[in-house]
């Protein structure tokens, strides 16, 4: 039953990811990415990680992707901008080589995963992945990393402001 949901979901996600890579227009890429994020949120739900799934939708599909869209539109990037620049002759071969290499790595990785014995899946309680469970963990065992993460975000915010502002002085 779950497999029936998983396969189409995985297929759609992979296709959308490919769409991100191979779309010439940055806007199209961004829209594909949003679709992929939503698909992944569904995968998370399938894995009973409800809290993370919600977070995925809110943070990624909501906040980060809006930022992307905003920048693309701000810089007024159009389709084909990528090609407007002269191709350097080496890039084509390099791209093919890269693709081959990555396929090779992927093959090896898949091989590895399939040949590994992971053992029995644990029996999950009903409360698995709920906000209470994850929140408790986050504010007890992982409180220090949590606070560090907040500092990281603050630093990123300041950095972004400093970098992006006009040089007035």
């Amino acid at each position: 039953m779950e497999l029936l949901i998983f396969y189409p979901l995985a297929l759609v996600t992979i296709l959308l990811a490919l769409g991100v890579v191979f779309n010439t227009s940055p806007i199209n890429s961004a829209v594909s990415l949003i679709g992929m994020m939503l698909g992944l949120a569904a995968v998370f739900v399938l894995l009973q990680a409800h809290f993370i799934a919600i977070l995925q939708v809110i943070v990624y599909a909501g906040a980060i992707m809006v930022l992307f869209m905003f920048v693309i539109m701000l810089l007024n990037l159009k389709a084909g901008d990528d090609r407007a620049w002269k191709m350097r002759e080496r890039n084509l071969y390099l791209s093919i080589l890269t693709g081959v290499l990555i396929l090779l790595g992927l093959y090896k990785l898949t091989d590895k995963i399939q040949s590994t014995e992971f053992g029995e899946t644990a029996k999950l309680p009903d409360t698995f992945g709920t906000t209470i469970e994850v929140g408790t963990k986050l504010f007890t065992d992982y409180v220090l990393p949590f606070e560090v993460a907040s500092i990281l975000l603050l630093a990123a915010m300041v950095g972004a402001v400093v970098l992006a502002k006009n040089k007035v002085d």
Binding site: L94, L97, T98, L101, I102, L104, G105, K108, L109
Partner: protein, 655 residues
């Protein structure tokens, strides 16, 4: 009293340090005061030590002053200590006594030199090293002195370093000495391997009960030590450096290359007499080498024109006599001749220095002559020493040389004696040739040069040394038993327990299945009182030989001055001798040239192609590899990232 021993080498060392570092600042007067003060103070201390030895209880071991343990390495325990026994005391007296006199002489001789202080710093350093050599209570301390005197000899021969010949001579002396030192060092290792200690007193005490008479071990051991002695004491085959060493200042030749350093080999052999006694083969070789050197150097001396070279060859020849004495086991005679030789040869060298000083550095005796009226004191002292070296009664050389010849015949055989007597004849001839050509006859002096007597600071040492050369023979009056002062004095050091040693050898050999009896040998080593008349006869004979040598010199160079030229003209034999038997050329051909060629080949093939090629090759390959690496550094971040992924994939595949 023995606690004062450390002062003896300390004074010259202090003098050397002060003169070496502050010599230019303190001025020549202070330099000379400090330089002469050190040896004289040492001499006084040695006198105290010498007197204290008279009160030494008979049979007790001689005192040693241990300053500190120098090498505490497992079973090798080397102490830095000084030994004060009759033998080292005699040597110390000679070294500091003659050394002080020569230092004083040097003040006059070297006064005009700019680097006066450098000369005295080296001279004091030499004295320090020589005293270490003589006083050391083990082989290693002796070896420091041994190397130290070699180094100082190098410095002093090369004192006039702006002269190429002086530099070459210094290098030659150093290199030739090094060959001998190598043998000596191996000898020391061998001693340590055999005895487990390198302390003189322990080794000598253990020798009779450790070594087997005539065994391979003791023969090899003593041969290595003897190689060391041939290097330092200028014997065949390593004697070639000494005549060339005359490039140094004349007082240096007197101190180092006549009186003290070159006798180090003799001293070492006498010091190790317990080892040499057990090696009859080595002793035979020593005697033959000594006799051969005595004869060969004497013949060379007849043909040289340089006043100092004649004396140098004479020194080599006299050292040969000392080794003959060692070779027949007459160690007292060797030391006796060493002492008298130090007196008269130092006097001769200083006399020649005085002549050279007066002649403004002219050394060729063909341009001298008739000097006796200009420099009476120098002439008189030189004559006394010449008579002494020729061996005329009652001068010191007579006693010591005669004792050696007597022992050569009695304890050795006719061959040694024959060599010695012919050497004595030639010695008398060439020494008087030197005197006649230098001081007598018509003046052949350059008219621009006005010879004059040297100042008192130079003549006083000459007088002192001439007095010693005259009276030094009293130390060893022969004939009457018990009157040989030096013999009695050295008796405790060179007495050897033949009975124990031979008995031990018999037992060891028997345990190995060789039944050999040394009883006869033991009897022959026992006390023998030779006939007084034989001794008298030998003396008369050697005096006759010396007189005939003198007469021949008189005939050749005073009566008929045209004779030598007539005899020698066109004779290939004479040319050969004059060119010193072409030994230098032979060594050049045999050792120097192959070494130079091999070095050149090493330089051109191994170094320039091999080593340099490797270094340049590394540089070139780095350049080549950078060219390849340059291709990777395109500057495009994505390319870098791709290489990262490549690496990642490779890693993945490997895992």
């Amino acid at each position: 009293m023995v606690n004062l021993a450390f002062l003896v080498p300390l004074f010259p060392l202090i003098g050397s340090i002060i003169n070496g570092f502050y010599g230019l600042k303190i001025g020549k007067d202070w330099v000379s005061k400090i330089a002469c003060g050190g040896p004289i103070l040492s001499f006084l201390v040695v006198l105290c030590l010498w007197v204290s030895l008279f009160f030494h209880p008979e049979g007790a071991p001689y005192p040693e002053q241990i300053l500190f343990t120098w090498v505490p390495a497992g079973s090798l325990q080397v102490e830095f200590g000084f030994q004060v026994d009759p033998l080292s005391c005699v040597m110390m007296l000679v070294v500091t006594g003659v050394g002080s006199v020569i230092h004083v002489f040097s003040i006059g001789y070297m006064y005009e030199e700019y680097s006066y202080y450098r000369y005295f710093a080296y001279l004091n350093l030499f004295l320090f090293s020589m005293l270490l050599l003589v006083m050391g209570n083990n082989f290693l301390v002796m070896f420091i002195g041994w190397e130290g005197v070699g180094a100082c000899s190098y410095f002093l021969i090369g004192y006039y370093f702006e002269k190429k010949s002086a530099c070459d001579a210094a290098t030659k002396a150093f290199v030739v000495n090094r060959i001998g030192d190598f043998g000596f060092l191996i000898g020391i290792f061998y001693v340590f391997q055999t005895f487990g200690t390198i302390d003189f007193s322990s080794v000598m005490a253990a020798a009779p009960t450790t070594l087997v008479y005539g065994s391979e071990t003791v023969t090899l051991l003593t041969m290595f030590l003897f190689i060391g002695a041939t290097g330092k004491s200028a014997q065949i085959p390593l004697y070639t450096w000494l005549p060339d060493a005359m490039e140094g200042p004349t007082p240096v030749s007197a101190l180092i290359h006549a009186a003290t350093m070159v006798t180090a080999g003799v001293y070492m052999v006498v010091r190790c007499n317990a080892l040499f006694n057990l090696a009859p083969l080595t002793l035979t070789i020593i005697a033959l080498v000594g006799g051969g050197t005595a004869l060969m150097a004497a013949t060379i001396g007849c043909t040289q024109w340089d006043i100092k070279r004649v004396l140098a060859d004479s020194t080599v020849s006299q050292l040969g006599y000392m080794f003959v004495a060692c070779g027949v086991g007459a160690y007292t005679a060797a030391i006796f001749h060493l002492v008298t030789h130090a007196f008269f040869k130092a006097c001769l060298f200083l006399g020649s220095g005085s002549v050279i000083h007066a002649m403004h550095h002219e050394q060729d005796i063909r341009r001298m002559g008739g000097l006796k009226d200009h420099m009476p004191i120098t002439y008189l002292t030189f004559l006394i020493s010449t008579i002494a070296i020729a061996g005329i009664f009652p001068f010191s050389g007579f006693f010591s040389k005669d004792e050696i010849l007597f022992h050569a015949l009695m304890d050795g055989n006719v061959i040694y004696w024959g060599m010695g007597v012919s050497g004595a004849f030639i010695t008398a001839f060439y020494m008087f040739r030197l005197v006649f050509l230098t001081f007598h006859g018509e003046s052949r002096v350059d008219p621009h040069v006005h010879p004059h007597e040297s100042p008192a600071v130079m003549t006083m040492p000459l007088i002192i040394l001439a007095g010693l050369a005259l009276g030094g023979g009293l130390l060893g009056i022969p004939l009457i038993h018990g009157w040989h002062i030096l013999g009695n004095w050295l008796e405790p050091v060179i007495s050897f327990d033949w009975a124990t040693a031979l008995h031990h050898s018999e037992t060891v050999l028997a345990s190995h299945g060789h039944h050999e009896s040394f009883t006869e040998l033991l009897h022959s080593k026992g006390e023998h009182h030779p006939n007084v008349w034989i001794e008298l006869l030998l003396m008369a004979f050697s005096v006759a030989v010396a007189l005939s040598g003198i007469y021949m010199a008189y005939l050749f160079y005073r009566k008929h001055p045209e004779l030598p030229a007539k005899f020698t003209k066109g004779q290939w034999g004479f040319d050969l001798v004059q060119e010193k038997y072409r030994v230098d050329e032979l060594y050049d051909e045999m050792f120097v040239k192959p070494t130079v060629e091999a070095s050149e080949r090493l330089w051109k093939d191994a170094d320039m192609k091999g080593v340099d090629g490797a270094v340049n090759g590394v540089a070139q390959s780095i350049g080549f590899m950078s060219k390849i690496a340059q291709y990777f550094q395109s500057g495009f971040v994505r390319n870098y990232a791709m290489f990262m992924v490549m690496g990642f994939v490779v890693l993945l595949i490997i895992i």
